[in-house]
């Protein structure tokens, strides 16, 4: 099943075995042992009470929960293996069923390379609108992660302004990582219900999904947990994302880092299933290695790429969809490093069929938004999309008749077979295949073309608007949260 004007990877021809069954079993068992013996911190009274009611060993003072493996495993079995992310335009709903890889924008950035001036500046609400509109126009971006922080709006309602801005500028599904307290979550649910046609319709048409970051190692944020419970209650898909980083917030060795991140995610996921059995949940991860000189989050590098592939093995094992961090780069501008890291990470996460791929558009460890980077990332996704289709081998594609017709020494350009199949060859938007002399006169490249394309889109693309009444109603909800 495909969605309108959206390019999604499905029916993959490529495979990769990054972990053996034995490796997987070891990581799973290590994870259960961590949750049972070391414990995970859940700093929320409500959550601690849920754990206690379900037989976990709860230390209220330290807010640490230790849980027997059976409780975790039984709870995880209640999670639905497949469901959909609904879009404002139902034709753009996305299936999370293990056979689709959907690209999203990256999220939570704090600065933007201004599309007009090229200068880096603090992100604002207008950026959220503009990015959503450009993303809406691309066929590669299947859903939105709220891309940057609307820092010109009050902190307590910022997350709400952001999702409204995306809905107003795109008909595609919206996911936010910036709604992490009870008040905002309640309001966001009300806002989503306006589009879905009622709170009771959200389970059927979840036009919003929420991502909550864990606090590695082995911790969660209280506000995030409470928000996640509210979302799970009404059937809004909810995921916990670990960003455990080798050598700082996780063990240096990759297996141990996977186990720590896994413990955070599956303990959180099990909690949601204990509270609301059958609630749609997803696994989310963006593990990385820390830079050994500064301790900084690197975003990118070979460890990232391997985590990208390995995490889906875990999510598949628990039979829940995965949202995987990809395209992360430490590069400061769209350059060799950005291209390399975007390509490797998106390929590795896609080849194992991660359901959601996050996300295009960022530089400098997911902090600085660049429109050029965004559209070049989209092209990388298109290349991966083409590669995942693999090589089709049958009579038509072996082309024996044409080979015989052309014979030794001829050419295939004038063959009908060529014309029939030529559009199957990948046509890049931003790769330079021009004659050298043409480049020599213009000296432009992918960055210029991608930026020009983004500018053109912003000028021309107008998605189906959100109806005025819904917008007004959303405004009222947001006002009620603002202090």
């Amino acid at each position: 099943m495909s969605s309108k004007n959206i390019k999604t990877i499905s029916n993959p021809k490529l495979k990769l075995e990054v972990l053996t069954q034995d490796d997987l079993k070891k990581i799973h068992e290590a994870t259960l042992q961590i949750i049972e013996k070391v414990g995970v911190r859940f700093p929320s009274k409500r959550v601690l009470e849920i754990w206690e009611a379900n037989g976990a060993d709860v230390n209220y003072e330290k807010k640490i929960v230790r849980v027997k493996p059976r409780i975790i495993e039984d709870a995880l079995k209640k999670a639905p293996p497949a469901y959909k992310l609904a879009a404002r335009d139902p034709q753009q709903d996305l299936q999370l069923d293990g056979n689709h890889v959907h690209l999203g924008t990256d999220g939570c950035g704090v600065e933007v390379i201004d599309i007009d001036t090229g200068e880096k500046r603090t992100s604002c609400l207008q950026d959220v609108r503009d990015i959503a509109r450009v993303a809406d126009a691309t066929e590669e971006v299947a859903f939105h992660w709220v891309p940057v922080s609307a820092q010109d709006r009050p902190a307590e309602a910022r997350g709400l302004h952001e999702i409204k801005a995306v809905w107003e500028n795109s008909t595609k599904h919206v996911q936010s990582e910036s709604i992490y307290n009870v008040d905002e979550a309640k309001a966001a649910i009300e806002m989503a219900a306006l589009i879905a046609g009622g709170k009771d319709k959200l389970r059927e048409r979840p036009v919003l999904s929420l991502m909550q970051c864990t606090a590695p190692p082995l911790g969660h944020d209280g506000g995030s947990l409470d928000a996640a419970l509210l979302a799970a209650e009404v059937g809004i898909p909810t995921g916990f994302m670990t960003m455990a980083a080798c050598a700082t917030t996780g063990p240096t060795t990759m297996a141990g880092n996977l186990a720590v991140g896994n413990a955070e995610v599956i303990a959180g996921t099990a909690l949601l299933q204990l509270a609301y059995p059958g609630a749609p949940v997803f696994y989310a991860a963006a593990q990385t290695a820390s830079d050994l000189r500064t301790g900084a989050y690197t975003g990118g590098g070979p460890e990232d790429f391997l985590f990208g592939a390995a995490t889906n093995v875990l999510a598949d094992f628990y039979n829940i969809p995965l949202s995987m961090g990809a395209f992360a780069t430490g590069a400061k501008e769209p350059n060799w490093q950005a291209g390399l890291e975007g390509a490797m990470s998106s390929f590795m996460a896609s080849v194992v069929m991660s359901d959601m791929l996050l996300g295009c558009g960022f530089l400098h460890g997911s902090r600085i938004w660049s429109y050029a980077e965004m559209l070049m990332d989209c092209e990388i996704f298109s290349i991966v999309h083409k590669m995942m289709a693999g090589i089709e081998v049958n009579d038509e594609t072996l082309a024996m008749d044409v080979i015989a017709a052309v014979g030794p020494g001829g050419h295939f350009l004038a063959q009908k077979h060529t014309r029939n199949h030529m559009r199957e060859l990948f046509m890049p938007k931003f790769m330079d295949r021009r004659p050298y002399s043409e480049w020599e006169t213009k000296k432009d490249d992918a960055r210029d073309w991608a930026l020009a394309k983004a500018r053109k889109t912003l000028k021309e693309h107008q998605p189906d608007p959100l109806d005025e009444k819904t917008g007004k109603e959303m405004e009222r909800i947001i006002k009620s949260v603002e202090k």
């Binding site: 704090v110 910022r158 910036s178 606090a215 050598a247 050994l292 500064t294 301790g295 902090r367």
Partner: protein, 218 residues
């Protein structure tokens, strides 16, 4: 005899071995060595060596942190002896560190604390989710030179400004300098909230802190 021991002290810092650092510090007390000598001729030599290696790109952050932890372990044993003698280590300055209210992310801040104390600052780390009055109260209590605040979220970093505004209101600046950090913190933000210093990483934070107390590296 003590030359040998000084070497061992430096070495255990280089190895990042807190247990041996504690043992050697205790041994120096039994041998009635002067605690200031023990620190400056023994342990600090190791800290300087690792710092030097780090500067050359030959040592990495975990080694620096472990050296810092080992140094802290040694000092914890020696400090009470110094106090008995009515002496004190010469400190670079006093720093109160905290992650701001509403925010529970602390690894960066903790790292800054370790690096600062390894570099001779006296550091009081209040931990996470700290409101302005707690941070300022502690700074006044210990007569701090610097307040260092961390935030990971754009929604909590606004608290950094609140602390600065409060300090200004109380007329506590420039007596108390303010350093800020955290993933979403940018130079623009630092200028906007009129913080005194900012660094993108822990090593840089030490340099800034030294500048703020007027003790820059030569």
């Amino acid at each position: 005899m003590s030359e040998e021991l000084y070497k061992e002290m430096a070495q255990c810092i280089i190895d990042g071995d807190s247990d041996i650092a504690t043992q050697l510090a205790k041994k120096s007390i039994e041998l009635k060595m002067h605690p200031l000598d023990t620190i400056t001729k023994g342990f600090v030599v190791g800290v300087n060596y690792i710092g030097d290696q780090f500067g050359k790109g030959e040592a990495f952050l975990p080694e620096l942190v472990m050296a810092g932890e080992a140094m802290k372990a040694a000092v914890a044993v020696l400090e009470p002896e110094l106090i008995k003698l009515g002496e004190a280590r010469e400190m670079m300055g006093r720093v109160v560190l905290a992650t701001v209210e509403g925010d529970i992310h602390e690894i960066g801040k903790t790292l800054v604390g370790t690096m600062l104390s390894a570099s001779g600052f006296e550091v009081v780390d209040l931990g996470v989710d700290q409101p302005a009055d707690k941070i300022i109260g502690k700074a006044l209590e210990i007569n701090a030179d610097i307040i260092g605040m961390s935030a990971l979220l754009t929604t909590t970093m606004v608290r950094q400004r609140e602390v600065i505004e409060e300090l200004d209101k109380e007329g506590l600046r420039p007596r108390i300098k303010v350093m800020v950090g955290g993933a979403p913190i940018t130079r623009d933000w630092v200028t906007k909230i009129k913080a005194d210093g900012y660094s993108e990483d822990a090593i840089g934070a030490v340099k800034i802190a030294k500048e703020l107390v007027g003790k820059t590296d030569q």
